[in-house]
């Protein structure tokens, strides 16, 4: 076969392999919306439990958010191929969801979820862990910076008055969930436009 194959054709084939492998590995999932969704969910749950004095505030809000996340994610992900990296990151976040749901449900049912500082510190530490792991896997400094904010929040919420620790926690939610989520969504739109321009 190679008798009829020119050097240019061989180079073309090599370049095709490189470009297709890069295309396949390109991060195609878009997850910015989940950060925004969960950021607002935390705000709703906090507001509802503070002013509504309802024990159902957190379980209801979290359950609705989980259902919305699963439905939207399965619709969005069904058209994108799975990668090993995507599965690694996804498994970390799914494990976080299970851990937090079980822990806080058990603490709530046993009546031991009485320390507001501890509640916020545990949530912050867990979110710091998953954001840190995701940031390191993706080599994404912005997400790792969010992890640092969560870790600082975990330590800070152990001190000060109830109001002070709540303000710190609310600020961390805004920075690491809502602002970071909007930043992620903007970056995804920019990346899509750049790809369209490159392919044009």
């Amino acid at each position: 076969m190679q008798d009829h194959t020119t050097e240019q054709e061989l180079r073309d084939r090599l370049s095709l392999i490189e470009s297709m492998i890069a295309e396949g590995r390109r991060h195609t999932e878009s997850w910015g919306w989940t950060f925004v969704l969960w950021g607002f969910s935390y705000y709703i749950a906090i507001a509802w439990s503070t002013w509504g004095h309802s024990a159902w505030a957190w379980p209801t809000t979290v359950l609705i958010s989980i259902i919305v996340t699963i439905i939207v994610a399965s619709v969005k992900a069904s058209h994108h191929p799975g990668t090993t990296l995507g599965r690694a990151i996804g498994s970390i976040w799914i494990s976080l969801g299970i851990s937090m749901s079980l822990l806080f449900l058990a603490l709530g049912l046993s009546g031991r979820l009485t320390d507001q500082h501890l509640f916020m510190a545990v949530i912050s530490a867990l979110l710091g862990m998953v954001n840190g792991a995701s940031g390191l896997l993706l080599r994404w400094k912005v997400q790792f910076a969010c992890a640092v904010v969560w870790w600082v929040t975990a330590a800070a919420t152990c001190f000060g008055t109830d109001s002070q620790s709540t303000i710190v926690f609310l600020a961390a939610i805004f920075i690491c969930q809502i602002a970071f989520g909007i930043y992620g969504m903007t970056a995804e739109v920019y990346e899509r436009r750049r790809r369209v321009q490159l392919n044009a």
């Binding site: 297709m20 619709v75 069904s78 191929p81 090993t84």
Partner: protein
């Protein structure tokens, strides 16, 4: 002069090579995703995927997601080995072309 390697004709086809390369970077991919990346027609894409399947280089899985049928393709170990061997042969041929 060393013997020049043969290029695997199943892998060498432009669209088949693109498909194997795409599938080597992901765990599995849907037919529509492969179509959008290769910009091939449904008929041509289906025919080339069938050739790769017959060669044992890809496996196909059909399932339903939200009541919609989905056809997923995954590269096999044999397919990955064939692609690696093809790249090595290509590099050897290119090295020979540069030397002469």
């Amino acid at each position: 002069m060393p013997d020049l390697p043969e290029l695997n004709p199943v892998v060498h086809g432009r669209l088949r090579l693109a498909l194997l390369s795409l599938l080597s970077g992901v765990e599995e991919a849907e037919f529509t995703w492969l179509r959008s990346k290769t910009e091939a027609t449904d008929g041509n894409l289906g025919a080339q995927l069938l050739k790769l399947e017959e060669a044992g280089y890809v496996v196909v899985k059909k399932k339903f997601v939200l009541r919609k049928p989905q056809t997923l393709y995954r590269i096999t170990t044999t397919g990955r080995q064939a692609l690696t061997a093809y790249v090595q042969a290509l590099k050897q041929l290119l090295g020979h072309a540069i030397d002469t």
